[in-house]
C-alpha cells in the first residue's frame, strides 16, 4: 500500500504545475468577478480585495444584457442539438446495422466534414446565409451548428449503437414485433443513454462556438454569450472587467460541471469509435 501512496505523491507533484496553470484562470475569474470596481486597477496588482461584492452579478446582468444573450445561446444550442440528433440517429442506425452501397464513401465524407472547420468556410457560409436572408437570424446558427456537429454525433452514436447486440432486435422480430416496434420498444430505450450523452456534447459545442456567431449575428440583440462577452472586451476604451468576469463565471461554470461529469463517456466514446 505504501508504494501506491508514494506513487500518488510523485504523480501529484508532477501534475501540480500543470494543474496550477489550468486552475489559474478560474481563480482570476472568481477573484475579479466579486471584487469592487474601484479595486480593479490598483498598483501593485494583487489577488487580495476588501469585500465580496456579489452585486456585481446583478449589475452585470442588467448592463450587459446577459439574460438576452443567455436566451439566444440556449435557443441556438438546444435547437442545433435537436436538429443534429434527429438527423444523426437514423444515419448512425443505418451505419451500425445495414450494409449498403457507398457506405465506405459516406464514412470518408463524414471524416472530411468533421475536419472542415467553420473558419475556412466562413466567408462562403456568410454569403450563403445572406442569399437565404438568414443573417441576423439565430436559425442560421442552428443550421450551421447542426451540420458541423453531425459527423461527430453520427460517429459517437454509431459506436454506441454497435455495442447494442443485434440479436436483441432479432429476438423481438421473432417475438412478432415489426421493425418499427422493435426499434421503438427495444432499440431506442437501450440507446437513450448514448443519445443523452451525445446531445449534451453537441449542446456544449454549440454553446461555446464563436466564429460563426460573431460573423452571422450583426446586431447586439442577437448575440450569443461568447460574442456578447467578447463584445464587452473588444474595441472598448474602458472595459468593465468585473462585469466581464462575472459574466464568464455564469456562462462557464454550469457547462464545466456538466462536462466534468460526462468526460468519462467522451473518453469511452472516442475509444470505441472515433480513434479506433
Amino acid at each position: 500500500m505504501t508504494t501506491k501512496l508514494t506513487r500518488s505523491l510523485i504523480y501529484w507533484a508532477l501534475l501540480s504545475p500543470l494543474m496550477v496553470v489550468i486552475l489559474f484562470p478560474f481563480g482570476v475569474m472568481f477573484v475579479t468577478a466579486v471584487r469592487p470596481r474601484e479595486e480593479l486597477f490598483v498598483y501593485p496588482p494583487t489577488w487580495g480585495f476588501s469585500e465580496f461584492r456579489w452585486e456585481n452579478f446583478s449589475e452585470m446582468w442588467v448592463k450587459t444584457n446577459f439574460g438576452g444573450a443567455l436566451l439566444n445561446s440556449l435557443y441556438v444550442s438546444v435547437a442545433a442539438t435537436v436538429v443534429a440528433l434527429v438527423l444523426s440517429i437514423p444515419a448512425a442506425y443505418a451505419m451500425s446495422r445495414y450494409r449498403f452501397a457507398g457506405k465506405g464513401a459516406y464514412r470518408t465524407f463524414l471524416l472530411m466534414t468533421q475536419m472542415m472547420s467553420p473558419i475556412v468556410l466562413v466567408l462562403g457560409l456568410f454569403r450563403l446565409m445572406m442569399s437565404l436572408g438568414l443573417v441576423n437570424d439565430l436559425n442560421s446558427l442552428v443550421l450551421t451548428y447542426a451540420a458541423f456537429n453531425m459527423a461527430f454525433t453520427i460517429w459517437m452514436l454509431q459506436s454506441y449503437f454497435n455495442s447494442i447486440p443485434r440479436d436483441l432486435e432479432e429476438a423481438a422480430w421473432m417475438d412478432g414485433a415489426s421493425h418499427l416496434t422493435s426499434l421503438v420498444r427495444i432499440f431506442l430505450p437501450l440507446a437513450v443513454p448514448a443519445m443523452v450523452v451525445t446531445a449534451i456534447f453537441t449542446f456544449i459545442n454549440s454553446w461555446n462556438e464563436f466564429v460563426l456567431a460573431l460573423t452571422m449575428m450583426r446586431s447586439s440583440e442577437d448575440f450569443t454569450l461568447p460574442v456578447q462577452i467578447y463584445a464587452q472586451v473588444a474595441g472598448r476604451y474602458q472595459v468593465e472587467w468585473h462585469h466581464v468576469m462575472a459574466a464568464t463565471v455564469l456562462a462557464t461554470v454550469p457547462v464545466a460541471i456538466m462536462f466534468s461529469w460526462l468526460q468519462r463517456y467522451l473518453i469511452r466514446g472516442m475509444a470505441l469509435g472515433a480513434v479506433k
Binding site: D167, A171, W173, M174, D175, G176, I186
Partner: protein
Amino acid sequence: MSSVTIRGVKKKYGAMAVLHGIDLEIRDREFVVLVGPSGCGKSTLLRMIAGLESISSGDILIGDRVVNDVPAKARDIAMVFQNYALYPHMSVYENMSFSLRLKRMAKEMIDRKVREAAEILNLSTYLERSPRQLSGGQRQRVAMGRALVRDAQVFLFDEPLSNLDAKLRVVMRTEIKALHQRLQTTSVYVTHDQIEAMTMADRIVVMNAGKIEQIGTPLELYDTPANLFVADFIGSPSMNFLRGTLEPGAVVLADGSRVPVETTGRGAAGQKVVFGIRPEHLSLSSDGTGLAAEVEVVEPTGANIQVYARVAGMPLCAVFTERHDFRPGQTIHLAWPGRNAHLFDAASGQRL
C-alpha cells in the same frame, strides 16, 4: 406444431456461396439437431428458417406454406439465441410476456401463460428480477421461457448452451430434452458439440462446408457413418483411421502388416482404402495375436484408460474399461469384433 421442409436452399453473400443446396424434411414433433464445425453453414440455415436471413434460391416451407417472403414476425417461430438476447431493460416477466403483449392478448391470459412457463422452468421466484441479476443458467431458462409462452409452430435453438460451463451444460441438455418430450414442439437445434447432438436429437444432420454430409438417428450415424467426415466427427475420442491397400480379407498397411476385415462386396483388390475402428471397440487380444501397437502415452480417466499408440507409423487410440498397467514403449496386441470395423474409399471418403 408443424413440419419444416427445406428444398434446394442456397445462400450466397455476393459471389461467396455459404450453402450449396440443402434438402431436408423435418417432421412434425421431431427434434432435429444441425451439427458441424464452425463455418459449415448450420447457423445460417437456422437463421433462414427463422426469417433473419434472406434465401438466395430454393424454398422453405413451414407446414405446407412457403415462407420465403414471410417476415420473421409472421412465421410463428420461437428462437433461443446463443447469447440469450434477453431485453436488458425489461424484467423477467416482461421479457417472457413481450410477444404476448404484442399480440394484445388479455392480461389474465398472459399472466397465466407466463406463470405456467415459469413454473416449468423453476423461474417463479425470479419474475420481477432484471436479466443482469440472474446467473447464466437462469438467463438461459428465461430465454427458453420466452419461447415457451408462445405456443409457436417451431422452436429454433442457436447454440443455446455454448455460454454455460460444462456441468450446467449437461443439466440444461437434459432439461431441454425433457421439455421437448413434454411439449412435443417441432425443434431445430444448432450446435457444434457432437455429444449434445447425440444425446438430444431424434435425428442429426451433419453439415460441412455448406453441404449435408449425412442425416440419420444418432445410432445410425454412430454405427454406419456415410463417409470419413461423419465417422471422424461423431464419437469421442474420434474413430481411428488406418490407411492401406485392400486385399481379399484384409487391409495391408504401409509396413506390410495385415488388418483382417470382411471384404466381400466392399471394393476391389488393390484399392486405396481407410480402415476405421472406434477406440472403445478395441480390446486386448488374449493370445498375443491381433494388431500390434506400440504404446506412447497412457491417460487414465478413472472410469477407463485411454491409450495412445502407434501402428505402422499411424496414431491410434484405444479405450479400455478394465484397468491395465501399460508402459510407454510396450507393444500390445489389439482385437475387435468384425461388425464394428468400418471401411472407406481413400479417394472419395465414402463408406464401402
